[in-house]
Symmetry: C2
DNA sequence: ATTTTTTTATTGAACGTTCAATCAATAAAA
DNA sequence: TTTTATTGATTGAACGTTCAATAAAAAAAT
C-alpha cells in the first residue's frame, strides 16, 4: 500500500476524523484509537505524522482557524465590497459561512475554547483569531467614526457575533443564520447611524 | 473527627475545590485525587457524597447556575427597579456581577459549555439557564415593543451579554466590566429608542 | 453513670480499566 | 538496497471506583 506523498493525505484524513470524533463523543472521549479507527488507519500513524495527540489537536485547531479566516477573506475579496458597511457585512457573512455554522465545527470550537485556557500553544492560536476579528472590524468602523467610538463599536460587534455563535451552538435547534446575520447587520446600522452627526460616511 | 451533619459542609468544600482545580489545571486534569487533596479529604469521600465524579460535576454546575440566578434576582428585587429599562439593566448587572466575573467561574463555564454538548443532564441544566436569560429579557422588551421586535431585541441582547462574557473569558487581560455593561446598556437604549415611534414607553 | 451498640464519617490501598506512546516487524515503492 | 509507510501488540502510567477497616459520636442498655 505505501506510496510516496502520503503525509498530506493522511493529515487531512486524520484532522477530519478528529473533527468527527469530537462531534460524536466529545473531546474528552476522542481517543487516538477512536480517531484512527474512524480514519481507517492504525493508532500508531498519528504519532508518526503529528508527533502525538497534542500535535493532532493543534493541527486540527489550526485547520478550523484557517477555514474561518478563509471564509472571511473570500467574502471580502469580492469586487463589490468597498464601503465600510460592505466590508463589515462581509466579515459578518464570513463568520456565519456555511463551513463555520455546523454542529461539527461549533462543538470543536467550544472544546478548543475550553482547552485553550490551559494550553499556551492553543491559547496563542485562539487569541490571534480574536484579535483579527476585532482589528478587522475596528479598522472599518474607524473610516466613519472617531477612534474611541469605533473601538467601542468594534467590541460590541465582535461580542455580538461571538455571542450569536455561542448561543447558536448551545441551542437545541441550532443557529438561525439569517436571523443572526440580521441582528449583526442591525447593530452595524445603529453604529453607523451615529456617524451621520459626527463624521462623514463613506458608505 | 466524625461529627453529625458533615454532608453539607463536605459538599460545599468539594464543590469549591472542584472550581479551584478546574481553574488551576482544567477540567480534563481535574481528577478526583487532585480535587480531594485540595479539599483536604480522601478520594473516597467524593463517591460517598456525590455518588461519583459525574455527580460532583453536576452539583458544581448547579452551584454556579444558582449563583448566577441569585445575582440577577438580587438586583431585580431592589425597590427602585420598576421600568423595563431598569429591569433590563438589573439583568445586565446581575450577569456581570462580581461573583460571576472572575477567572475561576469563567473557566468553569467554558468547560461546562463544552462538556454539556455530550452529557444530556448537563445540557438540560445549561439550556434552562439560556432560556431563563432570554425569557426575562424578552418579557421586559415586550412592555415597550411589539412582540416580534421584542423577541429579536431579546435575542440580540442575550447574544451581546454572552458574547461580552465569552470574549472577556478568552481575553488575556480579562473582562472590563464597566465597558461591557456600557455596551449592553447602549444596546438596550437603541432598542428602546425604536419604541418611541411604535409603542408607548413606560420607561 | 457506665457500658454496649448502632450510626455516621472517613480513609487509603487494591482493582480493573483505559489511555497515549513506543517500537519491532512488515511491505510496498523508489 | 534503501526509503517511506504502516501496523498492532506491548508497556507503563493514570484514572475512577470499591470496600474492608477504623474511629468518633450518638443512642440504647445496663
Amino acid at each position: 500500500m505505501p506510496k510516496l506523498g502520503m503525509q498530506p493525505i493522511r493529515r487531512r484524513q486524520l484532522i477530519q476524523a478528529t473533527l468527527e470524533a469530537i462531534d460524536d463523543v466529545g473531546l474528552a472521549d476522542a481517543t487516538i484509537a477512536r480517531i484512527a479507527k474512524r480514519a481507517g488507519v492504525s493508532a500508531g500513524i498519528i504519532s508518526h505524522y503529528f508527533g502525538g495527540k497534542d500535535g493532532l489537536l493543534e493541527s486540527t485547531m489550526r485547520q478550523i482557524l484557517w477555514d474561518l479566516g478563509d471564509a472571511v477573506a473570500r467574502r471580502r475579496a469580492r469586487d463589490d465590497v468597498e464601503s465600510p458597511r460592505q466590508h463589515l457585512h462581509a466579515i459578518i457573512d464570513g463568520n456565519f459561512d456555511r463551513s463555520q455554522v455546523n454542529k461539527i465545527v461549533m462543538k470543536t470550537w467550544l472544546a478548543f475554547w475550553s482547552v485553550s485556557m490551559h494550553r499556551p500553544d492553543l491559547q496563542r492560536l485562539q487569541r490571534v483569531n480574536d484579535r483579527r476579528l476585532y482589528s478587522n472590524i475596528c479598522h472599518h468602523f474607524q473610516r466613519c467614526l472617531p477612534r474611541p467610538d469605533a473601538q467601542q463599536a468594534a467590541r460590541g460587534l465582535a461580542a455580538m457575533i461571538d455571542g450569536l455563535w455561542l448561543r447558536g451552538a448551545l441551542a437545541p435547534q441550532g443557529i438561525d443564520v439569517d436571523r443572526a446575520r440580521q441582528l449583526a447587520y442591525d447593530y452595524v446600522e445603529e453604529q453607523l447611524a451615529h456617524a451621520t452627526t459626527q463624521a462623514p460616511i463613506n458608505a
